[in-house]
Symmetry: C2
Subunit: 164 residues, 2 copies
DNA sequence: GCCAATTGCTTGAAGTTTAAAGAAATTGCA
DNA sequence: TGCAATTTCTTTAAACTTCAAGCAATTGGC
């Protein structure tokens, strides 16, 4: 009887505990910060996080974006974006225009109102985030950025391998 | 005229850009992994992520947990947990029992079926996560753990300061 | 013991989210 | 050209989520 291999098999049926703990910690951090941002957005601006996120994507460009672009960037489903855009057009923050060369395509832009309101929120938002990470040194931040970039690459590789 | 202070004021109206980029990267990582886990859970086990998360909390304990405990640990609202538990009791995965000493309190446990199914899923889940972080060295993982712990502490401090 | 405050949970409304199916338009290829 | 794939977007159903209001039970002064 091979005691070594027996013991190993029982105690280390592949030790993936550290990765799991890492994932849970990552998730906890994100959930915590997301909840905080959500609360503050509601409290100070009476706006939901998804709407803020959508406007943030649109604020980056001047000439509009299609629904598909939005759903890819926000990493949510197409149908989801349809509904969000609908409500934001309704409230006067967004402007939708059908493409002249491809009638399936809708270009979405921030209205003047939408951009003005977003800019106000974004300024505050940036301060909140700075405060949230206030205990981290510049070096900590650089290191986190680097490691998260590596993690992102790894996760993309893993996701791609599955769907292939 | 003081050129220095002028320039500074224009170019650095508080530079919080790095923190914001860090937050977006953190969020992207989490969203990416979460989406991957969600897909695989649905695909292989036909279960939703929230249900898996809830069962994961209950699997840690043998003698059950109250709804409040669950909502605190999962960092979601009370009403949310009520609905989730309801559906999982319905499907035979959970068991609810009213406390004898405090009739407001409900103790929730995994049924035999629930625990068996969860264990199967958890084994697979752990492998997925190990693969997701597969490109990271043990040292990378240790560093990420450390920095995320620091970030979590910082975020908690920030959240607490606001609500105070 | 009384009763205001607190705690545990549920409910209802509004919104977000996904997955899946489908409609409309365009593209590419034989 | 013809028409099968593809792309873009919408729709639908079910589930998830939050917030706020509310109910019932318990607790902590007094």
């Amino acid at each position: 009887m091979n005691l070594d291999s027996e013991t190993k098999a029982v105690e280390l049926p592949d030790d993936h505990g550290t990765e799991l703990r890492l994932w849970l910690r990552l998730l906890t951090c994100t959930t915590l910060i997301e909840g905080e941002v959500r609360s503050r957005l509601r409290e100070k601006f009476d706006v939901t996080l998804p709407r803020f996120d959508l406007m943030a994507q649109l604020d980056k460009v001047s000439d509009g974006m299609t629904l598909s672009d939005l759903s890819k960037r926000m990493m949510v489903s197409n149908g989801n974006v349809t509904g969000l855009v609908e409500r934001l057009v309704e409230s006067g923050h967004l402007d939708r225009r059908t493409s002249e060369t491809d009638r399936r395509v809708q270009f979405i832009r921030l209205t003047k109102l939408g951009r003005a309101e977003f800019r106000k929120m974004a300024t505050e938002h940036e301060k909140w985030i700075a405060d949230v990470f206030g205990d981290l040194s510049p070096k900590d931040i650089r290191e986190l950025m680097r490691l998260l970039a590596k993690a992102k690459g790894s996760a993309q590789r893993s996701a791609k391998a599955r769907s292939a």
